[in-house]
Symmetry: C2
Subunit: 538 residues, 2 copies
């Protein structure tokens, strides 16, 4: 255990040596075992107390004996900086005056409700009624719930065999809910969707894992991924032992996706003996926030068709578009409008209830729409889904609701639209304000967030800061982000966690803090950045 404490402490101490804020407090936080034991942490107090350590232990499992694929996997969105933030947050409870800030603001993760976004009332009403169905028999319920939420709950229960929301469902999800999702996709795209193509999942992540598991046999199987990318892709490719084949988005053209770059990287990978199995596209982009133009999407579909690649379309931000000149188009719609059907292209679209205007991250719902695979391959996907039995039913219900929300004339419609538009227009405002603030900072350039939930500014770091990061054995952008956290309480993720063009440095910052917090965030960020640049100016 001491090894861990020492490692974590080193980072904090490295920082305090150079920084003037509250040095003593941080030193004591970092170096005192007793402080660490009394605060929440990842590790067991029993293991702390017994002093178990891989070097001294006779236990059978050591790092060396673990699956090397697990060791290789990285997931920066919940990495070291978040761990430091959690310890600071705990310490703030009892040591309010010890820090130059009074709260930790988590801009590291697309988790809207953790920052005060309220859930959509209609969705939660339906969920409550389906959770405790006895409510539906009580007359008092009519005073507490909208009439369409009561109707909807009855309709949903009628779709579930025996009205049993506590039963495992079909491995792909409850058929009637998949019908609703398919109808929602049809309404969105103007092309048919088949409920039997829907595999409901606990969020989008398990769907991505499932496809990686299916497609990757060894490191000779490659998946084309955007750089920068959401680290779920690099993590799941590492866990399944495949090769991430990078294609670089062009920051100068607003994170443009060039077919020539795809071709170049595909050929390069093939020349190394890698069989490229799939192309992953995140649209709207994460962490990059761009929304692809339809013409660009057509080229991508043609490229996949021509090169025999599965198109893995991460479309979880489909409701998050903030600029009037861009519009979301699903890849399935684009493929079908090009005339490509089931026999022409393998396409998987991932959707999640964690994003959009609803932001129901904690409910872990989502689906993948799987088209263009032969029946024997689909049978294998079904089998893998079956091993985990089914995704959670609350998530399944919510996934059906977001694809079939209240309609004009429904009791909830007006309040639903007000809640939805309130959230989306506020997100658009926040994105704009933060982007403008970032672009005012010395050495920082930031593309606009056309969609999704993030800004991904580029920071030109002074040579002295890069040198300081090197001596602290940390990536320069991680160095910047740790300093930002310790000075302001703002948590962002270093660009190195998403990969980036070598020699460039970025961070990902969500646009999710509530509007009334944005001015303070802009002030703190601006002040910190100025002082950081002053400190390390060449």
């Amino acid at each position: 255990m001491r090894r861990f404490v020492t490692g974590q402490a080193k980072n904090l101490i490295d920082h305090t040596r150079r920084h003037h804020h509250k040095t003593l407090r941080l030193l004591s936080l970092a170096s005192s075992d007793s402080t660490l034991v009394s605060s929440p942490r990842l590790f067991s107090s029993s293991s702390l107390m017994s002093g178990s350590d891989s070097s001294s232990s006779s236990l059978p499992v050591t790092l060396d004996s673990l699956n090397p694929k697990v060791l290789k996997c990285e997931y920066a969105v919940r990495g070291e900086i978040v761990n430091i933030a959690q310890r600071l947050q705990e310490d703030l409870k009892t040591n309010k005056d010890a820090y130059p800030f009074n709260e930790i603001i988590y801009c590291n993760i697309g988790n809207p409700q953790s920052l005060g976004q309220q859930p959509i009332t209609f969705f939660r009403e339906v969920l409550a009624l389906c959770s405790h169905t006895a409510l539906l028999d009580e007359s008092a319920t009519h005073g507490l719930f909208s009439s369409d939420s009561i109707d909807r709950a009855w309709k949903i229960l009628d779709l579930i065999p025996g009205k049993a929301t506590g039963a495992y469902s079909h491995s792909q999800g409850i058929k009637g809910l998949r019908d609703a999702i398919a109808a929602g996709i049809e309404a969105r795209d103007g092309f048919p969707a088949d409920p039997n193509d829907i595999f409901m999942t606990d969020g989008a992540s398990p769907g991505v894992h499932m496809m990686m598991q299916l497609l990757i046999s060894s490191e000779k199987d490659g998946i084309l991924c955007p750089i920068p990318q959401y680290p779920l892709y690099s993590a799941s490719i590492a866990l399944h032992g495949g090769s991430l084949v990078p294609y670089y988005l062009d920051e100068a053209s607003g994170w443009g996706l060039e077919i020539s770059e795809l071709k170049k990287q595909l050929e390069d990978a093939r020349s190394k003996g890698i069989t490229v199995r799939a192309l992953a596209v995140i649209n709207p982009g994460n962490p990059t926030g761009q929304v692809l133009a339809e013409e660009n999407q057509r080229e991508i579909v043609d490229f996949c068709k021509k090169e025999g690649l599965v198109l893995l379309a991460d479309e979880v931000y489909q409701e998050n578009v903030y600029v009037p000149d861009k519009k979301f188009h699903s890849f399935k719609k684009v493929a079908r409008s090009l005339g490509y059907g089931e026999k022409d292209i393998c396409l998987v679209s991932f959707q999640s209830i964690s994003k959009g205007y609803y932001g129901e991250c904690g409910k872990r719902g989502g689906y993948m729409e799987v088209t263009g695979f032969t029946s024997d391959v689909r049978e294998q996907i079904y089998k893998v889904a079956s091993v985990n039995l089914c995704s959670n039913i609350s998530g399944q219900i919510l996934a059906s609701l977001v694809m079939s929300p209240p309609k004009p004339g429904d009791d909830s419609y007006d309040s639903y639209i007000a809640e939805k538009e309130g959230i989306l227009s506020s997100l658009a405002k926040r994105a704009k304000t933060l982007e403008e603030a970032l672009n005012k900072l010395e050495g920082v350039t930031c593309n606009r967030a056309e969609g999704a939930m993030y800004l991904f500014p580029c920071i030109k770091l002074p040579q002295k800061a890069i040198a300081a990061a090197e001596s602290a054995k940390t990536a320069p952008d991680a160095f910047y982000c740790k300093r930002l956290l310790n000075a302001t309480g703002i948590v962002v993720v270093p660009g190195s966690g998403f990969r980036q063009v070598p020699g460039t440095w970025h961070f990902r910052c969500t646009i999710l803090p509530q509007e009334d917090k944005i001015p303070a965030i802009v002030n703190r960020l601006t002040e910190f950045h100025k002082s950081f640049m002053d400190e390390f100016r060449n």
Copy 2:
């Protein structure tokens, strides 16, 4: 697609050739594409209509190109027989008179609420209040909910940062809920439990996968598993590319677990160059239903300690014990009472909200308690948990509730106890009735279900039946189970799906149909068995 239809049809046709029931109807169901298209199925109607087939397609993904580990994986609990049952069920809706039964009774899976078991009211009340927290501000709520469910909901919301049940939680689950679970474990075992040892999961399955992923690097890594076993183990070992090292439970001594057998199999595996990493024990047993004696558990713990094995303790049926002479003891309690602490033994206990008296399968909640691993190894477990962000919050809440149910004096206490004891005593009765009925059948012997939710009778099949199965290219027990389904509508899982001593044949049957259905099930089963034996008597 035609290949699939043909395959499925073959089984049905093989059957109808030998069987007198409704031959024409089954033939038409099996061979008519149009019937299949109009009924729910695994496969897309679009792929059906386009006639896509792996042999004719130019699509990039074929069975040959898939990860061979996926192809190797099997999961019989939702295998071929369940698919046939689903088609029969659909066909019954419009063709009631076509079959010698009027409903499908799913005894294939431990899914109590799908068979009419009602959820525990208190748990659902709390869940509804946490789903739609605005209810807590309404005075009418007090007329609809028990006062302790309202109190509990408030307490739970206070444990969640920002009361945000729609936010991702800590990757291990909400700290306050883990506190409640740890307290529940302490109360159960009389030994300390640390909330930082708890990793909350979407049911037990993802926890088992996570540990397999960690421990298995290649087919040279082995996991000792009971035979018969719950196929999650064989499936996850196959998916992660390891070797299942079997140890056989002794049917003659009530599915006894002999240390000599463990030793023999361990040595045998080692002699083949396999590094055995862990021992999986399912207690109470699935599919076997035995409850281990404490003395036996002590031997198992000592064996793991001595041989340097991780003990993977599947304890999801810990609340399901039906006989007065047996009691559940957690392996952690047994290890601690032997004086083994954190430094002595690596132990993972899996728990699920899908089982017990609550049977909340659809909520997908559970946890694993991870003890005895070094901090650097635990950091890797945490990282893998983080890649999927967190388990669903409703499942987390329920997992905390089942470990801290209402106490004497609480408003709900009496009704809670009545519901709980009603379910458990009824399950005990059903287990006994079914076991006695099975033991009366010619050539069938069945150990009692001391715990869990299953009976696993051994059937001595006549040689003629075995020959008939062979010519139908199916395992003899699968042949029996398909015949049972087609004659009675009862769905059970062939023993071959769980593995068994070669040359013996079994099936797994849940004890979950509601009490009023049991007499009819016994009658149908008895009648079928008699006619089957008469047909194939040597």
